[in-house]
């Protein structure tokens, strides 16, 4: 009966207009309903405009010759001169490559929190699990300044580890001044500081697995390793893939705090990443604001493209985990 009125297929012009009108009415009604909430949002929106969007105005400096007296908008245009100089600089390419290589090395630490979560989940004593978690998450809450200080004291040529090695008759290891070892030190300290924290997310995912799966697997004679491999990991694979893709997306970001507080001039060639490079050319040498902005923009664009890509793929897999 009704079918004869609403003919299948494309809606006619009148129907479209009617629908549009209906939608608009509904929207106005909704806006009116929530009208008193808009003023509350203003504080946060203004915050983002000032501290996140207003700096973007200054990005034009990447194409300008900045002079202090003339300011951002008054300085003369320089075209792509900064980028040409940039691409000719060996130091820049080395920092660019280091940012990539160090992130790739750090990906080796990606399974650490998963393994930690699976192991913690095997423990029957809740108290032991809880107290382990307290210790594992503590470093996340501390600054890289303090962690850097502690690590340097442990690992320097006259530090605890090397004194111990010497007393055992071994030759010292140059943890902080051998670039290749230093890169793995970055992997280790990153795992040391953050794996307990990431572990919490995996533990939450594991807690959502149906316990009867484990019970029936145990009845079938599966051991711990088989249960972890055949039940736990497949059940949390969405979480794992989402976090893995986000980690890949962040590859060109680089961790300024970590490297800035651990490195020294002897490892610049192997550990200087773009953020630390920008800092050094800006604040430790005669600054060229235009040039520094150009370096930042180059990295920022690549980083944003990768993050958007990662976000897009994540959205395909799990629409809840998508950010935009």
């Amino acid at each position: 009966m009704v079918d004869s009125v609403f003919v299948r297929g494309k809606p006619s012009k009148e129907e479209k207009a009617l629908m549009k009108q209906f939608k608009r009415k509904k929207l106005i009604k909704e806006i009116r309903r929530y009208r008193s909430l808009y003023p509350i949002m203003i504080f946060g929106v203004v915050f983002f405009i000032i501290f996140a969007y207003m700096p973007m105005y200054g990005i034009q400096l990447a194409f300008k010759d900045y002079t202090f007296g003339r300011g951002v908008s008054g300085s003369p245009w320089a075209g792509l001169a900064h980028f040409q100089r940039l691409f000719a600089r060996q130091e820049f390419w080395s920092a660019f490559l280091n940012t990539f290589i160090i992130s790739m090395i750090k990906l080796l630490g990606f399974p650490a929190p998963i393994i930690l979560a699976i192991l913690l989940n095997e423990i029957t004593s809740r108290r032991y699990t809880k107290s382990m978690q307290v210790i594992y998450t503590l470093p996340h809450f501390l600054s890289w300044i303090t962690i850097g200080g502690i690590m340097k004291r442990l690992l320097s040529s006259s530090g605890t580890i090397n004194s111990l090695l010497a007393s055992l008759g071994n030759s010292p290891v140059a943890f902080l001044s051998n670039g290749d070892i230093f890169r793995f030190l970055l992997l280790f300290t990153d795992m040391w500081k953050e794996s307990g924290w990431s572990c919490i997310i995996y533990m939450a995912a594991i807690a959502g697995i149906d316990p009867t799966l484990y019970e029936s697997a145990t009845l079938d004679g599966a051991n711990r390793l088989q249960r972890a491999w055949n039940i736990t990991i497949p059940s949390i694979r969405t979480t794992i893939s989402v976090l893995f893709i986000l980690a890949i997306g962040g590859i060109m970001g680089g961790n300024f705090d970590q490297i800035f507080n651990l490195y020294n001039p002897t490892v610049y060639s192997k550990a200087d990443i773009i953020p630390t490079y920008i800092y050094r050319i800006t604040f430790e040498q005669a600054p060229n604001y235009g040039f520094s902005t150009a370096v930042g923009l180059f990295q920022g664009v690549i980083n944003a493209a990768m993050l958007f890509g990662a976000n897009f793929i994540v959205g395909k897999m799990d629409s809840d985990a998508k950010m935009i």
Partner: protein, 294 residues
């Protein structure tokens, strides 16, 4: 064969458990020992530290490293600065985070646009120099506010808070609205009391972030008496001279550089280490709720 394995498993069911407990314990020691070593270094005299590189307990106590750093006037100023930015920073950050999260947890028209507008800033930012120039134009150079104002909304915390708010049934708010309550009243009287554990968690996160502030202090603070604690610790780690120059000659023999550095590190670590185990259960719940978005 499978029956055999089940039997074997049952008989020594606890052996794998013990191995796992031991593995987790070793990792805990790997995390814990560096802190313990730093603590010991800060409370022993020089000759003990030199003779016992790998200490398990302090054979002799000496707190002069702490005496030296607290007699360095900037240390007191630094603690004061940091406490100030923690207190004001938490209030400021909580206000912005909670209001934003509350509005975005409703079905308000335009929420997707605002969300995109916010999340975009996680992907792309102005960068070091443009931010620096903006801060200069805002007259925030050498101001305490340079270490507070730019940290209004942490998007991760906002998202956790928002997910928590959206678990609260909107019917409470609806009936309050019908009774004529304003939006701030609804937030204050209904949402906040129902989310105290989450507020504690977010407050802790913001507080710890502000306690760990150093980067903006390094970029924008020119007056050495206004530097935050963490920045002073960084300065001490790169050279203990700034502290030891103040020490009267008579006391110089007691000076032990590593001890002074680790004492400074301990002052920066201990407050966090003492507070956070008590809040552990709250933030574990909070992050699980915020889910993968961390």
């Amino acid at each position: 064969m499978s029956a055999k394995r089940t039997k074997a498993n049952k008989r020594k069911a606890d052996v794998p458990q013990i191995i796992i407990i031991a593995m987790l314990g070793i990792w805990a020691l790997v995390i814990f020992y560096p802190f313990y070593n730093a603590l010991l270094t800060s409370i022993v005299p020089f000759h003990v530290a030199v003779n016992h590189p790998f200490m398990l307990y302090p054979p002799e106590l000496d707190f002069s490293s702490y005496y030296f750093i607290f007699n360095w006037p900037n240390m007191i100023y630094g603690l004061r600065t940091t406490l100030f930015i923690v207190v004001i920073g938490v209030m400021y950050g909580m206000f912005l985070t909670v209001t934003m999260a509350y509005v975005l947890s409703t079905r308000i028209p335009g929420r997707r646009i605002v969300n995109g507008f916010i999340v975009f800033t996680m992907f792309f930012s102005g960068g070091l120099i443009p931010t620096y120039l903006l801060m200069r134009d805002l007259r925030l150079v050498n101001s305490y506010l340079s270490m507070i104002l730019p940290f209004g909304v942490n998007i991760m915390y906002m998202m956790i808070m928002r997910s928590y708010f959206s678990t609260i049934s909107p019917e409470y708010a609806e009936s309050a609205r019908i009774d004529g309550a304003g939006e701030f009243t609804i937030l204050r009287k209904i949402y906040l009391p129902l989310s105290t554990p989450m507020l504690a968690t977010i407050g802790l996160f913001i507080g710890v972030d502000r306690w760990n502030e150093w980067y903006n202090g390094m970029l924008y603070i020119t007056d050495s008496q206004k530097r935050p604690l963490q920045l002073l610790v960084r300065n001490i780690i790169s050279s203990t001279q700034i502290v030891t120059d103040n020490i009267p000659t008579a006391l110089r023999p007691a000076v032990y550089n590593d001890g002074i550095q680790m004492a400074a590190v301990m002052v920066a670590i201990l407050p966090v280490a003492l507070v956070f185990p008590f809040l552990q259960k709250y933030f574990v719940k909070g992050i699980s709720l915020g889910g993968v978005k961390m």
